[in-house]
């Protein structure tokens, strides 16, 4: 870094071999703590409340009532679902930032089934069709950039990004095509009277089914990545494409197969959002989760089980900051600012896990 030739630089940077797990998590914990302090100070400056009061409000916003806990768990499950979806692709170093669009397309396919086939076939069959349609639609949506990546090495970051907006406009088109009532430009609650195509609820807990499905997915993804042949293959492709080719892997096949899986899980997220939660679709159904999920997945180092924790952290912050903005009369975008700050800190702390600073041994030359 420092170019002076005669003096030893103040410090130099070296890569660490590996850090014991407890140490690396201690560094991350410290980063989160530091971030919470900074976020608290900023909140204090804006609201004039003392930070403890601020954090109490956050906790109340997230866990205050049983309804809030359920809705927290629901948002957690949805965010986790999308994060699980993007993980295999990331592990393969395929930067799928099109999860937002894939979720929307999955949701759109679900809504299409509910609207066009609702009340025309038995409900159980309809739900099966919805599951198949949402997964297939989103998988195809994800396969398009994967195909071109495999064939021409087209930049997938930018391709998937553009696909998001094509998906958003497509949803916007169907919103107006299926508008109900006429002239409202949105779909409204689908099959409100018949509940056709609504995913069943377990007991009286609206969101329990979603949560169970996503937990099962997390376990599946953990096993898939860690113990299956597919998981091994995609890790090799991610680490080094040349090695993968050398050991006789069909890299193109792995890329496309992984993106189909990634897309299909996004489709499930769309299904759960449209069929199990909102019973309608708008352009904001995915609600930025496609982007937040990338950070969740990356913060967890692509480990599906740790992802539960990172998704929890982000969801908690958003719920808590949402409460702060209501209580203190601030704008709801406040939670984005807090989330941004915390992520900056966690991103930054990775450096201290991967690299070591060697300070100049205490010589006489002190400037």
């Amino acid at each position: 870094m420092n170019k002076t030739k005669t003096h030893e630089p103040l410090f130099h940077i070296a890569k660490r071999d590996s850090l014991p797990v407890y140490k690396s998590w201690a560094i991350r914990g410290m980063a989160i703590l530091a971030a919470l302090i900074v976020a608290g100070v900023i909140t204090m400056l804006l609201t004039g409340e003392n930070p403890i009061q601020v954090y109490a409000t956050m906790f109340k916003g997230a866990f205050g009532t049983s309804r809030r806990i359920w809705s927290l768990l629901q948002s957690l499950a949805m965010l986790l679902c999308v994060a699980l979806a993007v993980t295999p692709a990331f592990k393969m170093r395929f930067w799928n930032i099109g999860a937002e669009g894939q979720v929307l397309i999955g949701g759109l396919a679900t809504a299409a089934c509910m609207i066009t086939l609702g009340n025309k076939m038995p409900n159980a069959l309809l739900i099966l069709v919805m599951i198949a349609a949402s997964m297939a639609a989103a998988a195809i949506w994800a396969l398009i950039p994967a195909f071109f990546k495999a064939k021409f090495n087209t930049n997938e970051t930018l391709f998937t990004l553009m696909m998001n907006y094509v998906a958003i406009q497509l949803v916007s088109y169907f919103e107006k095509l299926w508008e109900n009532p006429k002239g409202s430009s949105n779909i409204g609650i689908i099959n409100q009277s018949t509940h056709a195509g609504w995913l069943p609820t377990i007991g009286k807990f609206d969101y329990l089914l979603n949560i169970i499905v996503v937990l099962a997915l997390a376990v599946f993804m953990y096993i898939y990545l860690k113990y299956s042949k597919h998981g091994y293959e995609l890790t090799v492709v991610g680490e080094s494409e040349n090695t993968a080719r050398y050991i006789g892997l069909n890299v193109k096949k792995v890329i496309m197969r992984t993106m189909i899986l990634s897309g299909a899980i996004c489709g499930i997220a769309g299904l759960l959002l449209v069929g199990g939660t909102n019973h309608t679709i708008t352009t904001t159904t995915a609600g930025g989760r496609g982007f937040t999920a990338i950070m969740v997945s990356w913060l967890a180092k692509f480990n599906p089980i740790i992802m539960i924790l990172t998704a929890f952290l982000i969801t908690f912050l958003q719920a808590g900051a949402g409460e702060i903005s209501t209580v203190f009369g601030l704008n709801e975008s406040f939670s984005d600012i807090i989330t941004g700050i915390i992520i900056f800190f966690i991103i930054g702390c990775e450096f201290f896990i991967n690299y070591k600073l060697h300070f100049r041994s205490s010589h006489k030359e002190v400037k």
Partner: protein, 328 residues
């Protein structure tokens, strides 16, 4: 009609031109800054904050000094986007964090920052104004060239914009010249193509990346400023800037990393963005399909460029990768 379409297309295109010129400069140094949409929000709102306090300090709108009315928002905007650029650089260049994740975090933060202050600025300073409407300062930004109204279609197409629009074109031409004709530009491209080689040749990779990314952020931030102060008449509306930041990133690919193509490209994109308003008899829902045109066009260009695989049309080779000297 055609003159109106072109005029509107240019006005839509200018924020995209700022954004894409800034992003090209950034990407040429090997940094894929996905924070541009957020930075453009910050650039816009910082200018609004500056203008808001300036207007608040005036006794009457007539007292406004043209020089201050323009330079205060401009400086605030530059400062705001510069800070965002520095955060991005510190995380990705100094701390070698993943560029995609950092960029997305910057966008989350920046959009949140813009909407937060746009929505609660009035509340935070306890004034009795109902909404942020900076018509006085905005009028200075919107001052057009002389003869704009008296020269018919010519004036409408070429003279009817505020000074930032012309600045955007000059900056794009300047960037093009810098990248292709100067030693500094050569160094910058070398860093983006192969930082290890550039390092061996004695170019400071860190310094180059910092400079390119920060200046790129400032340029992109001006796009946000143009949008609020000129296009939107100084009225801030939350999420009003929309997805233009992503469109600017799309434009970078569309013009295959060449700022001078960006000038026409941005006008074309601007035109595609609003063409549905000029086609008579479109149903409301069909308009939505027309709005996806810029993205579809970008995807097609992306595919064609990668399929033809011509070296001069590709993005920088080390785009999106952090550089660490000891890592080979």
């Amino acid at each position: 009609m055609l003159a109106t379409l072109i005029q509107r297309a240019v006005m839509q295109g200018i924020p995209l031109l700022f954004g894409s010129t800034g992003e090209i400069l950034t990407e040429k140094s090997g940094n894929l800054n996905l924070g541009i949409p957020g930075i453009m929000y910050v650039g816009g709102i910082s200018g609004v904050i500056g203008a808001f306090f300036y207007e608040g300090s005036l006794a009457a709108p007539e007292d406004a000094n043209p020089f201050l009315a323009i330079s205060i928002p401009l400086l605030c905007s530059i400062l705001g986007s510069l800070i965002m650029g520095l955060i991005y650089c510190f995380l990705t260049v100094t701390l070698r964090a993943n560029q995609n994740v950092t960029g997305l975090a910057i966008t989350t933060f920046g959009v949140g920052f813009g909407n937060f202050f746009g929505g609660s600025l009035i509340k935070l300073v306890d004034t009795d104004i109902p909404s942020i409407s900076l018509t006085t300062t905005s009028n200075f930004f919107r001052t057009t060239l002389p003869f704009a109204d008296s020269t018919g279609w010519f004036g409408k197409i070429f003279l009817s914009y505020g000074f930032l629009a012309y600045a955007a074109i000059i900056i794009a031409l300047g960037c093009s010249f810098f990248l292709n004709r100067t030693r500094g530009g050569l160094h910058l491209r070398a860093v983006g193509e192969n930082p290890a080689t550039a390092d061996a040749a004695g170019i400071s990779v860190t310094k180059t990346k910092y400079l390119a990314t920060c200046i790129g952020s400032v340029i992109a931030g001006l796009g946000g400023l143009y949008y609020v102060m000129d296009y939107a008449n100084g009225v801030w509306s939350n999420d009003g800037f929309g997805d233009r930041g992503w469109l600017a990133i799309a434009l970078v690919i569309f013009v295959i990393w060449k700022p001078k193509f960006g000038i026409l490209g941005s006008i074309l994109f601007g035109g595609l963005y609003i063409i549905y308003l000029f086609i008579p008899g479109l149903a409301l829902r069909t308009q939505e399909l027309f709005k996806m045109l810029p993205y579809v066009v970008t995807i097609i260009v992306l595919i064609i460029v990668s399929a033809r695989n011509k070296k001069e049309n590709q993005g920088p080779q080390s785009l999106g990768l952090s550089y660490f000297r000891e890592e080979r």
